[in-house]
Amino acid sequence: MSNPNVTEYPAIHVPDKSILYLDGVSVSFDGFKAINNLSLYINKNELRCIIGPNGAGKTTMMDIITGKTRPDEGRVIFGDMTDLTSISEAEIANLGIGRKFQKPTVFENHTVYDNLKLALEGHRKVFENLFFRLSGQDDERINNVLETVALQEYVRRDAGELSHGQKQWLEIGMLLVQNPKLLLVDEPVAGMTRQETEHTSELLTRLAERHSVVVVEHDMEFVRSLATRVTVLHQGSVLAEGSMESIQSNPKVVEVYLGE
C-alpha cells in the first residue's frame, strides 16, 4: 500500500529532529499481516495521537517499538541511529522508552509508593538492588510525582485496591519517575471520568514540553482536546496523517470508520 501522505509531511526529511523512525516495518501472525510496511516519524518533544479501528495494529506497533514483538521486516530507529529491532526489551526501556499498557498494569501486591520506587530512574542491576537504599532526593521525587498524579493519600495502599482510573494514573506516575525520552501511552483515559480525563489531557500536554509522547486512544473527544497531530492506522499501515480537522474531513478515514 503506498503512503498517500508523504507530500503532506515534509518534516520527515530533517532527521535530527526525529526521535523515533519506523522504516517499512511488517509483521504477521500465522499469515495475518498485523503491521504492513509501516513507516512513521515521531519528532522530539512531539505529542502524537494514533487512532484507528480495532485491529489496525496500534498495540502491535507499540509492541514492536518496545521490543515485545520482533518485526519480520523493517527497522525501528531510535534517537541517534539505534536500531531497536536488535536489542532486548529491557535495553530499549533503558534507552529511554517508557510504556503505559492498554490494560493498566501496576504491581497490585505492592504499595503505591513501592510501585513508584521500582519505576525510579536508574538502579537496574541485580546486585545494586540487593543493597539499595533510597536517597532523600529520590524520596522527594517520588512525592512530587505522587502529587502530580493525585495519589498522595494512597501511598501505603496496595495498588490492587485502587480504582481503574487511579491505576491508570499510577502507571503514568511510574512513567514520570522512570523519566523516559519517549512515552508510549496506550489508551490512557479508558475508564476515567470526564474530570479525570481532562486532568490526564493536561498532564500529557505538559509532559510533551520535555518528552516525546505517543498516545493511542479511542476516545475522539480526548484526542481533539490534545489538539495535536494525528495519525490514522488502518490494516497495519498509515492511512492518513494531519490535524484532527483534516483527518475528520478525509474521505478515506470516514469510509474506514463508517464502513466498520
Binding site: A90, A93, F107, N109, N129, L130, F132, L134, G160, Q178
Partner: protein
C-alpha cells in the same frame, strides 16, 4: 524509613512472624541439647539422641522448604525439581564422607569406596578428586547445585519458559538426574547410593556429641538461611522479584532484565537447598538416587503450601508439620499415609490457599487483632 538500622533489628521490629520463628529456633538450639545432656534419662523431659537427630532432619527439611518458598512464594516459579539441588548437595557431602572411610571399608581399599571396588573400578574417577578435603566438599555443596541452577535457569529464563511449562521441565530435570544416578556406571554408587559413613572432620558420626553438634549446625543453618532469604525479599531486589512474579511484562518495560533477577534468586535457592542436603546426609547416614525422584520434589511443594507460601517461616513450619505427620503415620499406619498426603494436597489447595500461616492471620484478623503488615501480600494469584 530512611534512617539506617541494622537489618536484623529492622526485621525483628516489623515482622511478628519472624520474631516468633527466630525465638523458636533459638529455644530449640538451646533446649534440645540441654534436654539430651543435662536432663536425666528417667525424666519425662529427657530427649533421646534419636529424637535430636530426628529434629535435626526436620530442620534440614525446613531449610529446604525456605529455599523452595523463595522460588515459589516470591518468584512465582513452581519448581517441581527442587529435590535435585538438595540431592546434589547431599551427594557432595556423601562423597566427602565416603572418602573419610578410607581403608576402613569392607574391602579395605585405601582410596576406592566399597562400591567402586565391587564394580571393579581401577582408579578413582576424576570427579571424585578433592572430595577427601572438607573445604572442597563444602564448596561443591553450594557450587554444584548453584551451577546446575545457573545453567538450567539461564536457558529457561532467557527464553521465557514460564508457568506450568517451567514446572514440567524442572520435573524432567530431576527425573533425568534420578535415572542417571540409578546407573551403576555413573560413578555414584547406583541404586544403593552412598552409605556406611564413619566420621566427619574426624568425629565419629555415631557418637552422641557429633549428632548434637550436627543438630546445632542445622538449626544455625536454618537461622542464617532464613536471615539471608529475609534480607533478599526485603531489599529492593526482593520487591522487584515479587513484581516479576505478578507482572513480568511491566518489569521488563521498566528496563529491568527480569531473567537476571530470576536467575539470582533461583541460584541462591538452589545453593541453600544444597546446604540443606549436605546437613541431611550425615544425620540420616545415607544418600541414594531416590532423593531425585519427582515425587520427593513435589512433596516439598506441599510442605510450603501447607505452611503458607510467601512467608518463609510458613514454609519451615509446613516442612516440620508434614514430616512429623509422616514419621508418625508411616510408623503407625503406613498404608494410611499416602491417603493423608494426597488428601493434604487436595485439601490445602482447595481450603487453605495461604496455608496455616494464612489461616492464623485470617483468624487474628477476624478477632480484630492488628494486621501483620510485614508480609508481602499473597492474594490468590492468577
Amino acid at each position: 524509613m530512611l534512617k539506617y538500622k541494622p537489618f536484623i533489628f529492622r526485621l525483628l521490629e516489623t515482622d511478628r512472624g519472624s520474631k516468633y520463628f527466630v525465638a523458636i529456633l533459638l529455644a530449640l538450639m538451646v533446649l534440645v541439647p540441654v534436654c539430651n545432656l543435662a536432663v536425666p534419662e528417667s525424666s519425662a523431659f529427657h530427649m533421646p539422641v534419636y529424637g535430636v537427630t530426628l529434629i535435626g532432619k526436620y530442620l534440614t527439611y525446613a531449610l529446604l522448604a525456605i529455599s523452595l518458598d523463595l522460588v515459589w512464594g516470591y518468584l512465582g516459579i513452581l519448581s517441581l525439581g527442587h529435590g535435585a539441588f538438595f540431592g546434589l548437595g547431599g551427594y557432595a557431602m556423601g562423597m566427602y564422607l565416603m572418602r573419610q572411610i578410607g581403608d576402613r571399608g569392607v574391602y579395605g581399599h585405601p582410596v576406592l569406596p566399597d562400591f567402586m571396588v565391587f564394580l571393579d573400578y581401577k582408579e578413582l574417577p576424576w570427579f571424585w578428586y578433592g572430595f577427601d578435603q572438607f573445604w572442597f566438599a563444602a564448596l561443591m555443596v553450594v557450587l554444584v547445585p548453584g551451577l546446575l541452577a545457573f545453567v538450567f535457569g539461564w536457558l529457561a529464563f532467557r527464553s521465557r519458559v514460564t508457568g506450568v511449562y517451567l514446572s514440567i521441565i524442572t520435573q524432567a530435570l530431576t527425573y533425568a538426574l534420578m535415572l542417571a544416578f540409578f546407573r551403576n556406571n555413573f560413578g555414584f554408587g547406583g541404586n544403593n547410593g552412598l552409605t556406611d559413613f564413619k566420621d566427619i572432620l574426624g568425629f565419629d558420626l555415631r557418637s552422641d556429641g557429633t549428632r548434637i553438634a550436627l543438630f546445632v549446625c542445622s538449626a544455625l543453618a536454618v537461622m542464617l538461611g532464613y536471615f539471608a532469604c529475609r534480607f533478599i525479599v526485603q531489599s529492593r531486589l526482593g520487591s522487584l522479584v515479587m513484581a516479576i512474579r505478578d507482572s513480568e511484562g511491566r518489569v521488563r518495560a521498566l528496563g529491568y532484565r527480569d531473567e537476571y533477577y530470576k536467575l539470582f534468586v533461583f541460584v541462591v535457592a538452589a545453593m541453600l537447598a544444597g546446604v540443606a542436603g549436605a546437613l541431611y546426609v550425615p544425620q540420616v547416614g545415607i544418600i541414594n538416587p531416590g532423593e531425585f525422584s519427582p515425587i520427593n520434589s513435589i512433596e516439598m511443594v506441599i510442605w510450603v503450601a501447607m505452611g503458607g507460601r510467601g512467608t518463609l517461616y510458613g514454609a519451615a513450619l509446613g516442612a516440620v508439620v508434614v514430616n512429623f505427620a509422616k514419621t508418625y503415620f508411616t510408623a503407625v499406619a503406613p498404608e494410611v499415609w499416602l491417603f493423608i498426603l494426597g488428601g493434604l494436597f487436595v485439601g490445602v489447595t482447595l481450603f487453605l490457599p495461604r496455608g496455616i500461616v494464612g489461616a492464623i492471620q485470617k483468624i487474628r484478623g477476624m478477632l480484630g487483632a492488628s494486621r501483620n503488615t510485614g508480609l508481602p501480600g499473597m492474594a490468590a494469584k492468577k
